[in-house]
Symmetry: C2
Subunit: 408 residues, 2 copies
Amino acid sequence: MDRRRCLEADLADPLAAARTHFALPEGLIYLDGNSLGALQPVVAARLRDVVEHEWGAGLIRSWNDAGWVELPRRIAGRLAPLLGADRTELAVTDSTSANLFKALAAARRLRPDRHVLLTDDANFPTDVYVAQGLATLTGDLEVRVVHTDEVASHLDAEVAVLTLTHVDYRTGRLHDPVDLTAAAHAVGAVTVWDLSHSTGALDVDLHRWDADLAVGCTYKYLNGGPGSPAYLYVAQRWHEEISTPVQGWFGHAQPFAFSLGYQPAPGAERFHDGTPPVLSMAALESALEVWEGIDRAQLAAKAAELTDRFIALVDERCDDTVEVVTPRDPTRRGAQVSLRHAHADALTQALIARGVIGDHRPPDLVRFGFAPLYVRHVDVCDAVEQLREVLATRAWDRPEHHARRTVT
Amino acid sequence: MDRRRCLEADLADPLAAARTHFALPEGLIYLDGNSLGALQPVVAARLRDVVEHEWGAGLIRSWNDAGWVELPRRIAGRLAPLLGADRTELAVTDSTSANLFKALAAARRLRPDRHVLLTDDANFPTDVYVAQGLATLTGDLEVRVVHTDEVASHLDAEVAVLTLTHVDYRTGRLHDPVDLTAAAHAVGAVTVWDLSHSTGALDVDLHRWDADLAVGCTYKYLNGGPGSPAYLYVAQRWHEEISTPVQGWFGHAQPFAFSLGYQPAPGAERFHDGTPPVLSMAALESALEVWEGIDRAQLAAKAAELTDRFIALVDERCDDTVEVVTPRDPTRRGAQVSLRHAHADALTQALIARGVIGDHRPPDLVRFGFAPLYVRHVDVCDAVEQLREVLATRAWDRPEHHARRTVT
């Protein structure tokens, strides 16, 4: 009965057609699109063309003739509607870590007389490392890492920058970006949001949030491919004043004048630095075609439905060795549900062995991501059935599921 | 007669077999491998496999199962012999600009009591921008840009870091890395070399040079593909003391422990930061296979022969509207010859229209690069014949060769 209701929900899904663009392996239930998005055959075809014709035959001429030099700008144009941003507010470049470094340094320079960078202990660890690395480099910044529930109460006139990840990568819990941005602005701080777990799954609306800066990756819900280039957002109101610490030629107003004097490019494009990775950029550009005409509110609605259904079915079918740690209020969570289990790593492996792919986050979480573009209601139903069986039979308790892996 | 001698030289070339690995378009004489290296079909095949099987079918599992997580380290192992370095001294990550930023910041912190960063006015402009950006960020560094002939005389006890590009991107002139490194060390300064125009074309030997840090790109003579990942070298003797300003999770000793405390990875790998761009990394790894067993001295010898021959033929055949600006002593130049011409841009375009691809550097240079792996002596001969004709007939003086281009 549950399964039939799921199939009916899929028939009624306004986003159902998007799944046809993806090449998901037969029989696999892929609930790890929050870690690495799936491949679209059009991306593979585009990359073949870029490699064999544009690089192989066109060689250096393709910077002009195939428009390689415009790739970051074209991608920014495709990303902008997914972020509630304008194209000129986006740089597409580097990794999320490198962009966060640049964004924090830039934000900090907008408030030169303040010396605190505030973040929380639920942030993605690399974001904290990056902040601490910047503080060590400049020597005039204190990184305050506070409990995730107490961010607002630590905002005061000492805070130069508030940086947070919108979706907690472990629990899936959301910070409220509107309230926290307003609270930061009320004390004169500048905000830097990490949207890696948000964009392409939720109704990210940077203009409505009144955001200052933001960064995010494109290899999760945006399906750009493993390690695809990241983005950096700077609100228009900062374009005159903002500066990047990594002044590279592709962020110069005239890179091919080869002048020794640095002149930043207009808008967010000054945050470009080195030569863009064309192969990865081309894959990303192609991967973003599928978003044309897709409404952010539809994404958020489907993410809420899928995660609601997953939680309800876990409650109904699974034994009490698992606990839902993700907020049950759908407006308080991302497109993800995390379960606590005493042997979370082995449980994850046992599910993968049965074709249900989630991932493990230490010490005791199994994460399931519900990419609204290609996860179906029936996948949710089937995944929970596999989970029920694995738990009921203790199938996770086999030696092969306890093997150590480099990446979890 | 010249052409027959060229064909004979190609038959005697110990590197001749390497060209068979490349897919150069029929009829094209490609003398821009110093800007973008050529494609090898094996790279295209590898990338298809990575995209369609490893990403498409393997999805997140490929981080372990396909060894994606080890890509930067495996590439470092292939690069090391080309640089006279050990694998553990190399990070493979980011762009050259971003790596230079990290290297300069790290080098500067090895000499905290000094406040001058010395470079020259023949450096690649982005290297100067990057240095200036770092100085603005930290506020305690002065960037001194001196005439390229006067570097040694500006080394004194104020200098924390000397940073230079080994090969002048315009003239092809070489700095002497052994003498300048020794001179820098004599005053207590740390060196950062940019090897973008060197590695894969010359006998780069970082151990012999006694180099401290170095960076370089892989998309020129290393043929990694447009915008392929760059590398960063740190000499073993600095491994205990060195730190990176961009502390990202892939440079952490245990990225997948997700600990909030930063612990650098051993050796140069701490300079990794964000998630590596797997598609670009896989292409690069594959592109480096061809170097197995190739001797750096052979590369340098062939580069000297090709450039010698080019200069001799230009002297012999071309009118005096062009002037060779590259040093005539082959030990003083890279694998490149630059000619000065009053209409260098149009001359470059006219040559490209005839299938001889070089590039233009403002204001008045035409550059020709001689990648020792795939440029033949007969290409040199044929290229100069085209050049002679274009000059003799003033074929550059047509409207279509004066069109403005974004990338030169």
